[in-house]
């Protein structure tokens, strides 16, 4: 307590206040004192001490003024003292309340300051794994054909020459076998030969053997060719085979299906073109090209400046194949296709080395989280 406020321990009489005019200056001094003290409030603790000093029930300044000045004051001064005290009380209470709000706001500001996060610091990322890009591509292709009513089937990678070749109209000395250099399995003497399928097409035959038309299947799976590995070759890679056979399937249906698929996979602006080609198990046969999804056909690195990209082989099922599965070639017709999954992934994501898919370097895998 300062000397001035010590005066509240004395009565007015002791202070020599006898006239009404003396009351106002006295209260003005107290108020000035209060205002100075209010300035010094910094935090919650000093605010509490300040409040108790002035409003404390037992020994607050206002209590002293009430007890020492107001109560014993002579009647002629009562009115003036009472009025001045009320004014002072209103001022003190309002000020202390305002001071409280200020202190609290400051405290909150300080707390927020302390709790402030550095937004540029990394969050805690719980690790999640990535599906392999080939798996994602398989699923993307499968989804498109599922939406067209195709059922997914799978078949063995270890096949017989019959399913891999003969039943697909590729007899033993067919020159096309040169393009499908084949791995054979070591077999005990006398055991029938087995090979690693060179395409997913054997499942065309296996499916038709078991199922009457209508047939609509896709066959995702791994296939093998005896090629030395490099940026565009691998002795194992992945395909999705498709087959649709029914009473009324025509080349127009084939074209429409292929075009729909290509647009779904590469985007609505991509155009499709069918180039006549040759596969023993389809006729007419076609290579499916798409206009370059990157440059739109004007020529770029991805399409090797051709504007078109060769995607996969396809065609109407060669009636000779129906002969192997007891289908009536005169009544049934259909189409088939076989697409390389790696090729689709490479084109879509600009990957230039096939080996990346099989090295499984996590720096590659993580890119497709």
């Amino acid at each position: 307590m300062t000397t001035k406020t010590n005066s509240v321990a004395q009565t007015l009489r002791q202070l020599g206040i006898t006239r009404a005019e003396q009351v106002a200056p006295l209260f003005a001094e107290v108020r000035a004192e209060f205002d100075r003290a209010a300035q010094a409030v910094r935090d919650e603790a000093s605010w509490k001490a300040f409040r108790d000093a002035w409003l404390g029930r037992k020994s607050g300044v206002l209590t002293h003024i009430t007890d020492n000045w107001l109560k014993p004051t002579p009647p002629e001064l009562k009115r003036a003292v009472g009025q001045a005290l009320n004014e002072l009380r209103a001022h003190v209470e309002a000020s202390i309340e305002a001071s409280r709000a200020g202190v609290e706001a400051a405290a909150e500001r300080a707390a927020l300051e302390r709790e402030c996060v550095d937004l540029s610091l990394p969050g805690v990322q719980r690790p999640i794994g990535a599906r392999h890009l080939l798996r994602q591509t398989f699923e993307e292709i499968e989804r498109i054909f599922l939406s067209l009513g195709y059922t997914v089937v799978e078949g063995p990678e270890i096949e017989t020459p019959y399913y891999n070749f003969e039943a697909l109209n590729i007899p033993e000395h067919h020159p096309v076998r040169d393009n499908m250099d084949t791995f054979y399995l070591e077999r005990p003497a006398g055991a029938p030969p087995l090979l690693l399928r060179t395409h997913t097409s054997p499942m065309q035959v296996r499916t038709m053997e078991k199922q009457r038309p209508p047939v609509r299947i896709i066959v995702p799976g791994r296939v093998y060719r005896r090629d030395n590995p490099d940026a565009t070759h691998s002795f194992a890679f992945h395909q999705i085979e498709g087959l649709a056979v029914d009473l009324d399937i025509t080349f127009c249906d084939f074209k429409g299906t292929i075009e729909y698929f290509v647009r779904q996979f590469f985007g609505p602006k991509v155009k499709t073109r069918l180039r006549p080609s040759y596969f023993p198990f389809t006729e007419p046969s076609a290579e499916v090209d798409a206009s370059c999804h990157v440059c739109g056909g004007s020529g770029c690195r991805i399409c090797k400046f051709a504007g078109w990209i060769e995607l996969f082989g396809a065609g109407m099922v060669n009636p000779a194949v129906y002969g192997f599965v007891n289908y009536d070639a005169k009544r049934l017709s259909g189409f088939a296709f076989g697409m390389g999954v790696e090729r689709f992934a490479m084109l879509k994501y600009g990957i230039d080395d096939l080996q990346l898919f099989y090295q499984n370097d996590v720096r590659f895998l993580r890119q497709f989280l």
Partner: protein, 699 residues
């Protein structure tokens, strides 16, 4: 096959510039991969489909161009100025094996001057990648590239008795071919012989002793037809592919043999002079009548789904040499649905035998782009693979647990495979691998997983969590078996150091916990000790399906643990590596059973209470024994028993360890009272003390 633009123009008056011709040809089935430049003009690099031997010569490609542009294909007319003396008077041809050689023609040119070829000829051959040798040999190559039919010139005077015998090779018969390599033949092979010995491997390569040299004067020109399958077998057996064998193995045109002979003879005379003996010695046992094929509009519509006008059908088939003639009763009416054309199979088109082959010819020349597109209606509900729901959930979990998916090529090194292979498994070896390192189909995914971990560690990626869903291959008896498997591989940190995290190494408990998370899909896993030799003997276990108790006893899924250091060393894995492999089919089956049986469990209405028991146990006492002892009390209110802390050393005496067990009590009937709880805990403590010698540390 390389095709010279200017050479094509000798047979068809095409005016389209090379680039345009290239794209039109490509869109009708003659794929031109590139256009190059040469002194002989633009060179097309044509990828000829294996069913089109006719396009292995300029004349055949010119026919395609003529059909494409509706131009006339010029005939190859050759008039020979022959001497009076007859060829048949100086030589003879016998075919002893008509099944291998369907036609053999011989012409004789006398007094030719063998010399270097003129520039125009050299240029053309060189543009096609064929070295020039001399004018006579160059002519045979020239005619082959022109008409697609190989011919061969012998030095007539070197032929014993100046005659030709076409026969099977004798067992072990030897011949030194033009490339000066001595080759041993077998009776499946067709040879051209003279009276004494073989002088050429029929349809593949001539012999060195009878070749044309600069001193040769008299020439016997062979133009023949050989059986494609025989040629293919022989070429394969000898490892000898030639321009000639490529053409004969795809079935050359037997009718072309005589024209090619005439063309070559005329050119030899033009370039080397000499006189041509009259006539051709032509032995033709393989002559076959041209096949008739009928094409109907009905069938065309059935296959193609859209029509092609009569005029186009007839124009295309006519230009390609099929001589279409309308044979139906509605002949007068164009566009009739009844229309039928009788066509003749030209001898240069062995690939066209059926109506569908004609439909393809019409469709490709008419243009695939002119057929409309349609999306056929779906007729059946689509289905995914039967197990795919389980596999998707498995992948989803693995992903959430932080494992990246790998896809490995399953051809592996047999020694590495053997490290992981269970006894009694017959591996699948390749008969013709590309290398020893890829000569076996993996019998487990662990071998490829270990290699993948090694690859990544070698590329400074040391914190790895990987999985593969793939196949393992083996034989059961003579039957190949492909087994669906899940392989996990992990090493390095389970948690990396961060601002808010401490780092922690991946350990066995991580592997076990992750597998248990996966096992929850299938009703949970059970573990047993014991592990194959490739695993760390004391940090590994066998994994079973917990749910399989109700079928045929516990079903073993696989095993899991730390890779044995001895094996890790083989892969140069210098840090602790954890591996697991599970068979998936039983897991998937159990998933579907578990899922089908899954029902809602009502939430408890009363609070659960946890009590911690700090136990001092003798080393060797297992947590499972603690659980068992508690469970044996059959206190229905015990809902969970967990191990929450474990430590050794410090104040714990040797031979003991401290285990903090947390038991959750839960009643479905009422809130548990203190009296009930202390009753339970007393019983538990007593049981543990009596059965396991456990002592309770101060609580």
């Amino acid at each position: 096959m390389k095709i010279l633009y200017n050479w094509l123009k000798e047979f068809v008056d095409v005016t389209a510039p090379p680039a345009e011709l290239r794209s039109r040809l490509s869109l009708t089935g003659t794929a031109v991969d590139a256009i190059g430049d040469s002194p002989a003009g633009p060179v097309f690099d044509v990828e000829v489909n294996t069913n089109r031997p006719d396009c292995l010569g300029h004349y055949g490609v010119a026919r395609e161009v003529a059909a494409l542009y509706e131009l006339r294909l010029k005939r190859v007319e050759v008039k020979l100025k022959e001497a009076a003396e007859k060829a048949a008077g100086v030589t003879r041809v016998e075919i002893e094996c008509p099944e291998l050689c369907g036609r053999y023609t011989a012409r004789v040119i006398r007094g030719a001057r063998v010399a270097p070829s003129p520039d125009w000829l050299r240029q053309r051959l060189e543009a096609l990648g064929q070295a020039s040798i001399n004018n006579v040999v160059d002519v045979t190559n020239y005619v082959m590239f022109e008409l697609g039919h190989p011919t061969h010139a012998f030095d007539f005077d070197t032929l014993a008795e100046r005659r030709i015998v076409v026969r099977r090779a004798r067992p072990g018969e030897k011949i030194r071919t033009l490339d000066h390599i001595e080759r041993t033949l077998s009776p499946e092979m067709c040879v051209i012989a003279d009276a004494a010995r073989s002088v050429a491997i029929g349809g593949i390569l001539g012999g060195a002793e009878t070749e044309i040299t600069f001193s040769s004067q008299n020439v016997l020109l062979e133009s023949a037809w050989f059986d494609p399958i025989s040629i293919r077998r022989t070429a394969k057996a000898l490892g000898l592919r030639t321009e000639a064998s490529t053409r004969f193995e795809r079935s050359a045109d037997p009718e072309m043999a005589e024209l090619a002979s005439r063309r070559a003879t005329a050119l030899i005379q033009q370039l080397a002079g000499g006189e041509i003996l009259a006539g051709v010695v032509d032995v033709y046992p393989g002559r076959r009548p041209a096949k008739k094929i009928e094409l109907t509009r009905k069938e065309l519509l059935r296959v193609m789904g859209a029509d092609v006008p009569d005029k186009e059908i007839e124009g295309i088939l006519g230009a390609l040499g099929f001589d279409p003639v309308r044979v139906d009763s509605a002949r007068g009416s164009s566009g009739s649905l009844m229309a039928a054309w009788e066509c003749r199979q030209p001898p240069w088109r062995p690939d066209v035998e059926r109506d569908v082959d004609l439909i393809e010819e019409v469709a490709r020349q008419y243009g695939f782009d002119r057929f409309p597109s349609r999306l056929p209606p779906a007729k059946q509900p689509a289905a995914r693979l039967p197990h795919v729901e389980a596999e998707d959930l498995l992948r989803e979990r693995l992903r959430g647990l932080g494992y990246h998916e790998i896809i490995a090529i399953p051809q592996v090194n047999p020694d590495q495979d053997a490290l992981f292979r269970d006894e009694g498994v017959t591996p699948a070896r390749l008969a013709n691998p590309l290398s020893e390192d890829a000569s076996m189909l993996r019998s487990t995914g662990l071998v490829t997983m270990a290699a993948t971990l090694a690859w990544n560690l070698n590329h400074s990626q040391r914190n790895l969590r990987l999985y593969e869903i793939g196949s393992a291959y083996a034989f059961r008896g003579k039957e190949p078996i492909e087994t669906r498997i899940l392989t996990l591989g992990a090493t390095g940190l389970a948690r990396e150091k961060g601002v808010y995290e401490t780092q922690r190494e991946y350990n066995f408990a991580d592997l076990k916990g992750d597998l248990e998370r996966l096992g929850q899909l299938a009703g949970g896993l059970a573990w047993e000790s014991g592990a194959p030799a490739w695993l760390h003997p004391t940090r590994a276990g066998k994994v079973f399906l917990a749910a399989s108790a109700h079928s045929n006893g516990p079903s073993e899924l696989g095993c899991a643990g730390q890779l044995a250091r001895r094996v890790a060393e083989q892969f140069k894995l210098r840090q602790e590596v954890f591996l697991a492999e599970l068979r998936l089919d039983p897991l998937y089956r159990s998933y579907f059973e578990t899922r089908a049986a899954l029902r809602y469990d009502p939430l408890p209405r009363f609070p659960a209470v946890e009590r911690d028991f700090s136990l001092l146990l003798a080393e060797g006492t297992r947590f499972a024994q603690v659980v068992e002892a508690i469970r044996a009390l059959s206190i229905a209110e015990v809902s969970h028993i967990e191990a929450v802390d474990l430590f050794r050393g410090g104040q714990i005496p040797a031979g003991k360890y401290s285990l903090l067990v947390r038991i959750t009590f839960q009643s479905r009937e009422a809130t548990l009272t203190e009296a009930q709880l202390s009753g339970f805990t007393d019983r538990i403590v007593t049981a543990l003390e009596q059965q396991l010698g456990a002592t309770l540390r101060s609580e």
